[in-house]
Amino acid sequence: MIDVYSTYLIVVIALSFCVILAIVRVLRGPTAPDRVVGVDTINTIVIVSMVAFGTAFREIIYIDVAIVYALLSFISTLFIAKYLQGGEF
């Protein structure tokens, strides 16, 4: 019988399947914004899987890392978008 905590390991495996789907889009995407959309989606899924990992192993530090990762990936997305649209910074 699986308990609730180890269910989150299955969640992480399913989420890595989503990451694979998004990586296919990053590799195939015909234009640069397509690839950025794929990377943005990967970022969100990675944040959620970090929270799930932290719950599965009952390690709070993973969730703190997820918060910092969310803010940093947001800033990186903004900068890539700014770079793509050209013009002044």
Partner: protein
Amino acid sequence: MIFDLVIYVLIGIGLFFNILAGIGLLRFPDVYTRLHAGTKCTTFGSIFLIGSVILLGLKMWWEKDTNGSVLALHSALALVAILLTNPVGAHAIARAAHRSGIKPAQAVIDELSEEPMNVTTDERRGGD
């Protein structure tokens, strides 16, 4: 027992929408429609997955485990971070895509490209 069932249902809904986001990224034809799938579905899936973690933390807290409070509060903060940053990032990508000259595929109308041409209002008033 019922509590576990609620958590399993929340996890199921969250996973379904996250996988849907991946499939949508592959199936849609251009940047804007892919953004629809990539933003909305991951945000909604995250709400349910992290919501299940918050419920679990609250239950641990109820059973006098201080780790539970930390788990619930920090996961809630991560959820707030996702909810605030995801739409803004999508908006930034969409604007950058439009300014770098990508037209929406199969578009019926594109008012942003034909910006100065805003005569239809006056024409209709004259017609009436």
